[in-house]
Amino acid sequence: MSELVLETQKLDKIYKLGGRTIRALSDVNLQVKKGDFISIMGSSGSGKTTLLNMLGCLDKPTSGEVILDNVDVTKVPERKLYKIRRHKVGFIFQTFNLLPYLNAIENVELPMEGTKESGDKKKQRARELLKTVGLSEREEHRPHRLSAGEQQRVAIARALANDPTIVLADEPTGNLDTKTKYEIVRLLSTLNIDQGTTIIMVTHDSHIATRAGRMLSLYDGKLLAKEKEGTHLLKKELICPYCGGEIQPDNTFCPHCGKKL
């Protein structure tokens, strides 16, 4: 039984917009174990991003608890939250959100700013991370000289910089073309398999969602009780989700049925 790294209990979020009251989340109970790769699906307005913001300590729930690494982060005062964001959470955004005037390696180093690591160590770590996401050759490039997929890879490396407990990805493939989309989601699942990174990915793309291990659905702020298994679990056990044949971790296509993994 893997340890629980993230848990929400009876999470509610109520917005007041103008005169109207909007219930963005209602009674969300979510349990995330170490090494999980979870996708949360839902149409726009279903509360996906609200939930993610809650998990990433960017927003506070109206009621309920968010327990990250045994700490109820809803009780942590705002001025101390940055430490949790820095060390326990890695964010990946739909629009990448790289700093345009910093090059790839500097962008990756950014979250380590303010930590006690020496400059050399930070650089070394950033370099390793860029290698992990396959961008060793492009360290010195600024975002505008990178393709969308490459930018997202840099953003993923940045999210991993402080070795976070959990990586939160908000529509990470939303701004990418079909081919790149799969590359990015494959990168995420590789990270999950190879390094045990816990990932929660929010998406409204069902093809992408099925690539995760656990598939959850949000509907009108409620988490649907029925949870599906994604193809990722099978891949993790080195079984082709389509024909059941044996595969290798680095296979892009199933050697038996030829389908894209």
Partner: protein, 441 residues
């Protein structure tokens, strides 16, 4: 961004140029005060030494004729009048007279034209090239009274029995082209230069003079047995008024100046100096008030420029701020980041400002502080018009220039203003909710 830096730089240039202008002004006023007081002190000393001296000068015309300025040359020399030496013997017989020292002062035949500029236009005047002064080289006179020039720079002074030699003011050595030991020809007579002295400045108009034995001077100028001035020394200061009255009554061709007259003259001059100083000071204080206001405006403008630039920047980069906070930047991290940016912009602007200031400080200050230039023309013009020693003082230029201290200060101000102007925008940025900021497009 470049525009912002330039605008800010300009504002800072104003900020640093104005103090430099003020400093130049202060310096000018200070110099004026110093020169005034030293002039007055010197004159006072001179007058005190000569309580028993009655100067009897043959009446003469004005040096500078007054009237409307024209470009026409005017003959600016005295209408020279001479009296016979024997008048001196007559004066000596007046009761209470101790000594009578006769002098002959006559302008050279050579003339030179000079241009003097005043606010009412420029005068071209014809002036004698130099004055020939004959001094009685009698050891009792030389020892007792100041009859000879004192500040010698080369050679020796005149002494009893000298003949065929002369003393020359240093400003004539170029004209004659000789030094000590050289020969000078005046009206076809040859003289040997035995000494050179530094002339006392009479304002802009420096006296150019050769000094020689009285009899030599009388011969060379053709004024045989004639003199132009007597220095009459009384036995005691109490006789002075009586002697002066007798001389004035008897010899209408002599104008008499006593210790009292000289004191009155000094008083008048002092009053005028004080008036001038007061004007200068009130001008300065007016200028300072204007400068103070302008500096405040420049500071306000600079910080407002920084403020709005940073406000715009932080708004423009809201999403970036959201990202930074999402990946673990503390409020303080974000705030210091943007403060630093504000300060850097400000420093860049400071550098531009200093560059503009170095090149344009004089122009800027004269544009912004209209009083600065007044020292350069109006006031000085008055002195020149009066043919007064003050003109030399007034001619000191008041040029604003930047000194290293000011430049150093300007950098400090840039840092401070950058910090000040970006304080609120940076604070606002640091307070932005990351969630809201990330949603911002």
């Amino acid at each position: 961004m470049l525009l912002v830096v330039i605008a800010l730089g300009f504002s800072m240039a104003i900020m640093i140029s104005i103090p430099s202008g003020i400093m130049a002004n202060q310096e000018a006023t200070q110099n004026l005060t110093q020169n005034f007081s030293s002039t007055i002190t010197n004159m006072q000393e001179e007058i005190n030494k000569t309580a028993t001296l009655i100067e009897c000068q043959t009446s003469s015309g004005q040096v500078f004729p007054s009237g409307a300025p024209t470009g026409m040359p005017r003959f600016g020399s005295r209408q020279e009048v001479f009296v016979n030496e024997t008048v001196g013997d007559e004066i000596r017989s007046i009761e209470g007279v101790k000594d009578v020292v006769p002098f002959l002062e006559k302008s050279s035949n050579e003339t030179t034209s000079e241009t003097l500029s005043t606010p009412r236009g420029s005068f071209t005047i014809l002036r004698p090239l130099y004055t020939i002064t004959g001094v009685p080289l009698n050891s009792s006179f030389i020892d007792s009274y100041s009859v000879l020039p004192t500040n010698l720079t080369a050679g020796r002074n005149l002494q009893e029995g000298d003949s065929g030699v002369l003393l020359m003011s240093s400003n004539l050595s170029d004209y004659f082209g000789v030094g000590v030991g050289g020969t000078v020809t005046i009206n076809e007579e040859s003289f040997t230069v035995v000494g050179i002295y530094e002339p006392t400045s009479q304002g802009r108009v420096e006296t150019r003079m050769v000094c020689m034995n009285l009899t030599d001077a009388q011969t060379v100028t053709g004024e045989v047995r004639n003199v132009s001035r007597f220095d009459v020394y009384a036995e005691d200061a109490s006789y002075v008024d009586a002697i002066a009255d007798v001389i004035e009554a008897t010899y209408s061709e002599l104008s008499v100046t006593t210790y009292k007259d000289r004191l009155t003259q000094l008083q008048n001059m002092q009053n005028m100096y004080n008036e001038t100083l007061k004007n200068a000071e009130s001008t300065l204080s007016q200028t300072q008030t204007v400068a103070f206001q302008e500096i405040i405006i420049a500071i306000a403008a600079s910080s407002l420029i920084v403020f709005f630039t940073m406000l715009y920047t932080t708004r423009e980069r809201t999403k970036e701020i959201g990202t930074l906070k999402a990946i673990g930047f503390s409020n303080w991290n974000v705030m210091s980041q943007f403060m630093l940016e504000g300060i850097l912009i400000s420093i860049a602007a400071g550098a531009v400002g200093i560059a503009i200031g170095i090149v344009g400080a004089p122009t800027l200050t004269s544009l912004l502080l209209p009083h600065v230039s007044m020292f350069g023309s109006t006031q000085i013009g008055r002195f020149q018009e009066l043919g007064n020693p003050l003109s030399a003082i007034g001619s000191q230029a008041t040029t604003a220039s930047l000194n290293p201290q000011l430049i150093f200060l300007a950098f400090g101000a840039a840092v401070l203003l950058g910090a000040l102007g970006s304080l609120y925008p940076a604070w606002r940025a640091s307070r932005t909710s990351p969630m809201e900021a990330l949603r911002y497009e």
